[in-house]
């Protein structure tokens, strides 16, 4: 025996340590659970960290009103299996109550509006620690994010005033009204996530695997035909056709693109992303294409 862990075992041990630190030191944690693969892994790790007890905190979902039905079904099933409480922050309610105004121009998404509902749900429930599935490999603003990431009383992130994070000595102390976002998957990559899903047989929504779907091209992105994403009938390039696709990320239907794929199993997905030449967000997220600093700006405002 050489007393060495594999890289996945080491990442898992680190994530469990982080989750337990939060359970020990915070009063009202919650876990962001969208039904996406990263949050499915996060939830699985939280269950392992808290075993043999029940998960001692609720899960929170920010529902844009434009979510994939398959993903909502998966969310509800996992929540029921674990017997945890689900808190939903609804973007639709915020629009209906006039708290936020929806951008109705074609191609607009509700992605940015989620920030309002997220911060509102955190304040209303007095959550002081919010677990998120963000990874540092996703995007360059995330590359500088702390594992224990401080948010001021407005829910905002100030990248220039981040606390130094040394060894595994996490400082989760805060002043009234402030909170922390906690990222136990900080050091995981997309490939790590999938290898872990395979090793642990973690269930995912079916849309992560290849299926036939009606799609059309919009610029460089592929979009599914949905009530919220429709082609321009005058543009012949946006002709609707059926293709074998899967989703690499799962977000709001209006801004998440499927990729052409024939990967029907976890093994085939791992094979596919081992050889892909396009980054996860680059391939699938229209929301990061607005500007070079799109993610940084959203994060400052309090985004996931």
């Amino acid at each position: 025996m050489n007393y060495t862990l594999s890289h996945l075992e080491a990442l898992e041990a680190e994530a469990i340590y982080v989750i337990r630190e939060v359970v020990a030191e915070f009063e009202r944690p919650c876990l962001l659970f969208s039904g996406g693969k990263d949050s499915a892994v996060l939830l699985h790790l939280a269950v392992k960290a808290c075993w043999p007890g029940q998960l001692p905190f609720p899960v929170l979902h920010i529902d844009t009103g434009h979510n994939f039905p398959e993903v909502l079904d998966f969310r509800d099933r996992r929540v029921a299996e674990l017997g945890v409480r689900l808190v939903v922050g609804s973007v639709q309610d915020a629009i209906d109550n006039g708290e936020v105004t929806e951008d109705k121009t074609p191609g607009a998404s509700r992605n940015r509006l989620q920030t309002h509902s997220l911060i509102e749900a955190i304040a209303r429930n007095r959550f002081d620690a919010v677990f998120g599935g963000g990874r540092r490999d996703e995007e360059k603003a995330r590359a500088k994010e702390r594992v224990f990431s401080h948010r001021d009383e407005f829910g905002q992130w100030d990248p220039r005033r981040q606390r130094p994070e040394l060894w595994n000595l996490y400082n989760g102390r805060y002043r009234k009204g402030e909170h922390f976002r906690i990222f136990p998957l900080s050091n995981w990559t997309e490939l790590d996530i999938w290898q872990y899903i395979e090793n642990e047989s973690i269930e995912l929504p079916g849309i992560y695997f290849a299926h036939e779907r009606e799609v059309f091209r919009k610029g460089q992105m592929l979009l599914a035909l949905t009530p919220y994403t429709q082609p321009d009938p005058a543009n012949p390039e946006e002709e609707v056709h059926t293709a074998s696709v899967r989703y690499r990320t799962v977000g709001d239907m209006t801004c998440t693109s499927p990729v052409l794929s024939t990967a029907k199993t976890i093994e085939e997905v791992i094979q596919e992303i081992s050889t892909t030449r396009i980054s996860e967000r680059g391939a699938t997220r229209a929301d990061d294409k607005f500007s070079e600093a799109a993610m940084e700006d959203r994060k400052r405002e309090g985004y996931f």
């Binding site: 080491a10 043999p52 360059k140 220039r160 060894w167 595994n168 000595l169 102390r173 990559t189």
Partner: protein, 419 residues
Amino acid sequence: MSQTDLLRFATAGSVDDGKSTLIGRLLYDSKQIFEDQLEAIEKTSLDRGDEYVDLALLTDGLRAEREQGITIDVAYRYFSTPKRKFIIADSPGHIQHTRNMITGCSTADLVLVLVDARNGITEQTKRHAFIASLLRISHLVVCINKMDLVGWSKERFQEIRAELETFVTRLQIPDITFIPISALQGDNVVDRSTAMPWYEGASLLHHLEDVHIASDRNLIDLRFPVQLVMRPRSQQLHDYRGYAGQVASGILGVGDEVMVLPSGFVSKVEGIEFYDQELEQAFPPMSVIIRLADDLDISRGDMLCRPHNKPYISQDLSATVCWMSEKPLEEGTKLAIKHNTAWGKALVHEIRYRLDINTLHRDESAKELGLNDIGRISFRTTVPLFYDEYRVNKATGSFVLVDEQTQVTVAAGMLLTHT
């Protein structure tokens, strides 16, 4: 489960040393750069009129940094080869960012320092080597970069190497490797260079893949800081009591006799659990649950060790600290301290000296420590710490200090045994 292991390394160097280019090259040549990312930097390079694609742009960070043309914070990057997964803590090299370098080094197995072959060893190189030694990093890799600009000269390489070797004899770094490279052209980064046949060592990537880090861990002294007491509130687990935590050092086995600190009670390990598995042994950095044979009063912040191999237990302590706040540390300052899984308060009695990290001179007349200063302090804590000297045990020898007004982390500390 895939059997690649994990190597964490910290990089240091300024923009001019070509550090960003080197990291860009490692990511690019190991095929971790995606086409869309490459397209974006090709476009920026083209717009700026660069002669070649500036790989440094790959590691460019936040808007605030681009506007100022500097890196202000540690960025983490990832790449892997079939042998290993790598985590890079990329910290900027400016003098004012000693704290970033220390942050990056705190979790590193290895430090990679870049030297510009034209300029040779600078104050900054020495500072980085010193910080690596202070943080007890066992492996230092010195990449002598821009060899193309000194005619691939063996003599120049040897000259720089000799100079740094003289300096590091005053430090404690067991393993130092020198590699002549050209980050821009890729020589000795992933593949061996044909321009420098006189160099017989491995390329940087091969060195990183092969360097032996398993023995750097302390597998001798069992230290298990209790993180969480598991007492599920359910009928069928009514009598269950387990102690969750991450093994800090040493190896723990079922049946082992352990002592609980601070109480001093001795019990036996009845079980080691990881989720639904019963394990025979646990070692660092495993996160497990320990069940003991006796029902003892144990809480978060307590520690399990062996009855005949205990850590130091004291409230009067001495440490090397790096001060990370703009508001200076003065004698008489009260702070919160986090050590292992315990919080307490600390009163700084004395600033013994401030260290000039360029000359290693100890200024004993110093009355305060400013931002990025490194010095030796004595302090007293409200609760006894169960600790080892940082030199022999990083996990139980490290702590952070927190300002109780702002709740911000203001110092990183490394404990010494003599007060």
